[in-house]
Every structure is written in C-alpha cells, then in structure tokens.
Symmetry: C2
Subunit: 344 residues, 2 copies
Amino acid sequence: MGRATITDVARVAGVSIKTVSRVVNHEPNVRESTQAKVEKAIAELNYRPDQSARNLASHRSRLIGLVYDDPSAYDLPSSGYIIRMQKGALSACRAAHYELLIHPCDYRKKQVIAQLKSLIEETRPAGIIVAAPLSNMPKVVGAIESTGTPFVRLSPGKRNGKQLSVATNDREASAEMTRYLASLGHTRIAFITGHPRHKAVGNRLRGYRDGLQQSGLTFSEQLVVAGDNSFSSGEAAAAELLGRKPPPTAIFAANDDMAAGVIRVADRLGIDIPRQLSVAGFDDIALARQVYPTLTTIRQPLATMAERAALALIRDAREDHSSKGTEVVPATLQIRESTGPAPV
Amino acid sequence: MGRATITDVARVAGVSIKTVSRVVNHEPNVRESTQAKVEKAIAELNYRPDQSARNLASHRSRLIGLVYDDPSAYDLPSSGYIIRMQKGALSACRAAHYELLIHPCDYRKKQVIAQLKSLIEETRPAGIIVAAPLSNMPKVVGAIESTGTPFVRLSPGKRNGKQLSVATNDREASAEMTRYLASLGHTRIAFITGHPRHKAVGNRLRGYRDGLQQSGLTFSEQLVVAGDNSFSSGEAAAAELLGRKPPPTAIFAANDDMAAGVIRVADRLGIDIPRQLSVAGFDDIALARQVYPTLTTIRQPLATMAERAALALIRDAREDHSSKGTEVVPATLQIRESTGPAPV
DNA sequence: CAATAGTATGACAGCGCTGTCAATAACTGC
DNA sequence: GCAGTTATTGACAGCGCTGTCATACTATTG
C-alpha cells in the first residue's frame, strides 16, 4: 500500500483537494463541519503531507540552517555550546514543523565561504542562524547576505540595528559578576581577557570595568592579563597573577576554560579555593560542574537565543517579511563553590 | 531575476531538459561534447537543481536522520560524542549532497516513540542512523523498523546480522589496553565496570578478561568493582580498590568519566599518577585531555562509524536495496600521561 | 425581495524535476 | 552496404501539493 496523498483524503472526505489543503494549512474560511470531515479522513488514512511537494508548490522550504564554527576542528571542549544551540533551535523548529540543518565549518579554511554558499543554494533554507564567532565575520555574513536568504546572527554582546540578531548582555552580566565578587569583600579582583578575535569577549572586559566602578573599586592594569580563551592560557595568566605582590583574592576569567586553568594552577600552588582565592568564569560549560571546586560562572542562554532566532526566522518566512533589530536575552549568574568571601 | 531552472539550462545548451538532468545526475550515455555544453550552460546560469522538485519527482529525499540520546537532558559531558558523530555523518552527507537531520531525544520520556515516528513520517528521510544507547532499545528500533525506513545502528560492541549496523571492537580494544598495561609490568590490574544497561560496557569487561589471559595474568574478582558510568561511581570504586591490600597498580575504568573519578581520588590520597598508579579509561572524551595527568584511553572512531553508516544508507538509497550485516571500525589506544611502568 | 457583500468550495494550472519509452544516431560484423 | 546492436537524445506524463481565480452558496441590507 502506497502512502495516502491529498487526493485520497479528498476522496474519502468527499471534498476537493484544495479544501484538504486548507484544513492542513489552517487556512480560514472552512466550515467546521467540513473541517471535521477532512480531519477524520486524515486520521483514517494516516495522511501526512509530502514536504517536497509542499516546498515545490509553495516555493519555500521548511528548513532552518544553523551555521557555526566547528569545534572538533580544533578539539575545544566547547561542544556543549553547540548542543545547547542545536537544542534551542530544534525546539522552535519542531513546534513549527520545520527541520534543522546543521553546518559546522572551520572558519580558518579557505573554502568556507564557497561551501556555505553552495549549501544555501542547494538547500534553500527558509532562514539561517549564524553563531558566534562566525556571526562577527564580515565575509561570512556577507556571503549569506549575498544569497538573499534571511538570517539571524547569534552574537553575544554585539548589537546591530540593520540586521536581525539575538544577543546576550555579556557586558551587564560581567558587571554583575564583578559586583558580586566585590560584595563578597574582594577588592583585588583580577581579570583574564579572552581571544581578541571573539568580540563578545571585549564586552566582558568592559563589563568588568563597569562592575568595578559600580562597586567603588578602581581599575588597575596590574590586575588584567591577556589570555586567548584556552585552558593553558588560563594557567599562564593565573601563574602570572598569583605571583604579584599582593596577589588578587579573586580572578574572573573571560571564559570557563581559562578559569579551569586558574583552578589547576591554584591547586598546584596549594592555594585553597575559595578560602584564599575566588575564581569565576564565563560560559557555564559542562566542565564548570566537573572541576573541583565547581566553578562559579555566567550562563549564556544559548538555547533560548537559538530558539528565538529560529522563531524569528520562521515567523518571517510565514509573514513574508523580515524583522530587524536585536533581541537581548539576559545571561544569568551561576554561583557555585569556587567563589566565597574574601580572606581577612 | 528568478533562479535558473533546468529549462533555462536546456535552452542555453541547446538540448532537452532530460539531457541536462542526465548530466546533473551523472547518468551514463551522454556524449562528452554534449556534457561539456551543458556544463558550460550550468556554470553560466549558476544553475542549482531544486531539491524539492528532485525529491518529489524521484520519490526519495536526500535527508539522513541522526537519532541519538539527548545528553543535555541530563547534562552529561558526552556532547563531544555527538559532535563527532554529527561530523562523521555530515562529511558523508555533504559529499553525496545529502542533508543531515538531527533528532536528539530523551529515551526516558514516554513520547519518544511517537515523536520519532512522526518525525520520520513527516520528513521521510532516506535513512536513519540510530546511535547507542538508543540502538539497543527494542522499542526504538521497532518503531523505526515499523516505518519501513532503512536504518543503521551505531552500536559499539554489538553485532547483528539481521540489520545493518556499524560497531567498534570494544572487546578487542579493551584486551589491547589490558595487554598494554601488563606489558608495562603491571600484574594487579583492576577494572571498574560500567552501567549494566549499556551493552557495550559488558564487552569491555570481557575484553579485560581476554587481555589478562593473553598476558598470562589470572582474573580475580577482588580486582573488579562495579561502577555506573558516572564520575562519582568512579571515585567510589577507586576508594574501594585503593583500600585493598595490596592495592592494584593499575586501574582500567570502563569509561573516561569513571577514570577521571579515579584520578581525583588518587590525587586526594596523594597517590602519584603514573608513578604509583596507572589509570586508563575508555571513550576519549574531551575531559581526557583536560585532566591532570592526561588520561590514557581508548578512542572510539565515532566519526568514522557515523560516516560509514551514512554512506551505507546513501548507497542503499541509490541502489534501491538494503545491505545487511555489521561493519566493524576498530577503536584505537590513546596513550597519554596517566599510565606508566609498574612501581618496583 | 433584489442587490450587495461576504463566506465556502472547487477546477485547474503549474512548481522543477525524474522516469518511461520511443526515436534517432552511431556503430558493429559480415 | 545492410541488418542488428548499442549509444544518445528527446517528448511527455506525472510526482503531490499550493496559488489563482471562478463559482456557488449564505448572510445582510434597504
């Protein structure tokens, strides 16, 4: 037995295929009794509309593309990121009966742009979600733009009025973390900066400064060390900071990997966390709950962001227009064991 | 300007649309000169076949579904797994111009089966890849089977002749690891078993026994402790094992999380790794390279497995038949810092 | 009750491609 | 050079659906 088609349903329900189409698509102007008949027939035949046929006839696909930097290309433990984004995007997609297409790519390779374009041209998704750091790369964004496909940038901290994007309040959250540390009595709060390429990370430094100021503390170059987002750069930065006289009593790293590096170094130096040193990170990667002590950090609402992005894209596709502006989804502090009152 | 269609290409090339179709699909029996003309026209018009139209006309989709247990549902650090599987599946898909549809699901929820079925019926993928542990659940496999969609099970260690599956040689790899430890002079090699639900894990214990035997060592119940795959169960098992008189000089855990637990406990007890104790794990999760010392472990070729699975599905879809049997992709030892010569 | 304005339904032409099958061209061996 | 093959091409009918537009009903109004 082949699959039921719209014609079968129409025959069983005693209506035209167009009416079935109306019911399936929840179009207005269908009498209730008619709708009931059609729905009964659909259930009876276990009818499922054929997506290909719908797409072909309606000139639109029900695919959302999710484009992100491929972490396995350089073995970062940031895979949790991606899973969360996927999850958020998926939940929006599923509800709307859209599908998610994933496209990890290594931005350091030359062919990225070409691959991306061909992906888009071949699958013609209804919209694309571009995750950071790709969303901050003009070439990538330009390539997507040139295909005319609607897209949303997931760019923590960066706001942009011309295109649609979903962001977090990195800066405010960093300020909040800094204020939290200050409220614990810390006065020498150090900061480890992240990779300069990652724009969001710059905002985190700014937030740190904001937080200091809001807490009545003065900023000191002495307490800021550059990292590059990696665990080992966190270790190096920690070694440097803890060698200072006097050393900081709290270290706030621009991401969790570096914060984990700080914890490792403190452990080796026999420095007790949180009694002698408080450590805070940013991102809330899985590792944050696995290190000992568990890491106080800031959790980006990645899933929610991706979900909003997908929803926006789906909405736009339906209403046939594109929205603009930035939607901000706030990040939240995750207070765990690695932070505590400043030593006396 | 609208998009170029096959008709446009045919007109420009001066051939029929069918001939263009032949060129695009690499069908045989096209004269070289004709092919060149068509290809020139395609390039000139930047023509890309419309997938929806192809799917509709050919009654097959170019989607591969990847179904796996959703780690974010319970926050395991196993997301690296998924990324690797996705990566492998994607690389096969991309080469064949297929797309990957991802479907994480929480097997503990009641609706999983219904959701899965509706996903399949709505998107009608050309094939489905089912990852462990889902691939070992009769209900899940049964549901997929009932839709008639071809599928491949990614089931480490389990072999099955009736359906197609891709497996690793867990058992052999475990034996190899055990032999490796024995070759370092260890004679008291302990083993921490995993969660009984995870079938592959049973194979690891068997491999451990094989390895002991192959190395001329005798198996002792005293050196086997049950864990449940979690970090904390690894800690508990380590505490128990290290309390034995005499303690083992090497501990082989059925997965990396538990091995990391062993490392933590040894660290707390002041036991030097690898000088006093060698520790080995299984899986090569990201954490394995982040713990100190870095963990010797076994790496499952997850990406390769998923790639093979996708390839098999794509091949079957093309050739319109389904292959059977189990393909085995060997796991490889990753020797790092946590193992060394047995103490004298 | 006719005129007007919705509201509900259907007929039908594609969407852009592939599959089928028939037509033609190019070879083969004798 | 001819019948018998085989390689190459094209005409055309759908695939299952949606969009457009025409039609048939049902209220509403003065």
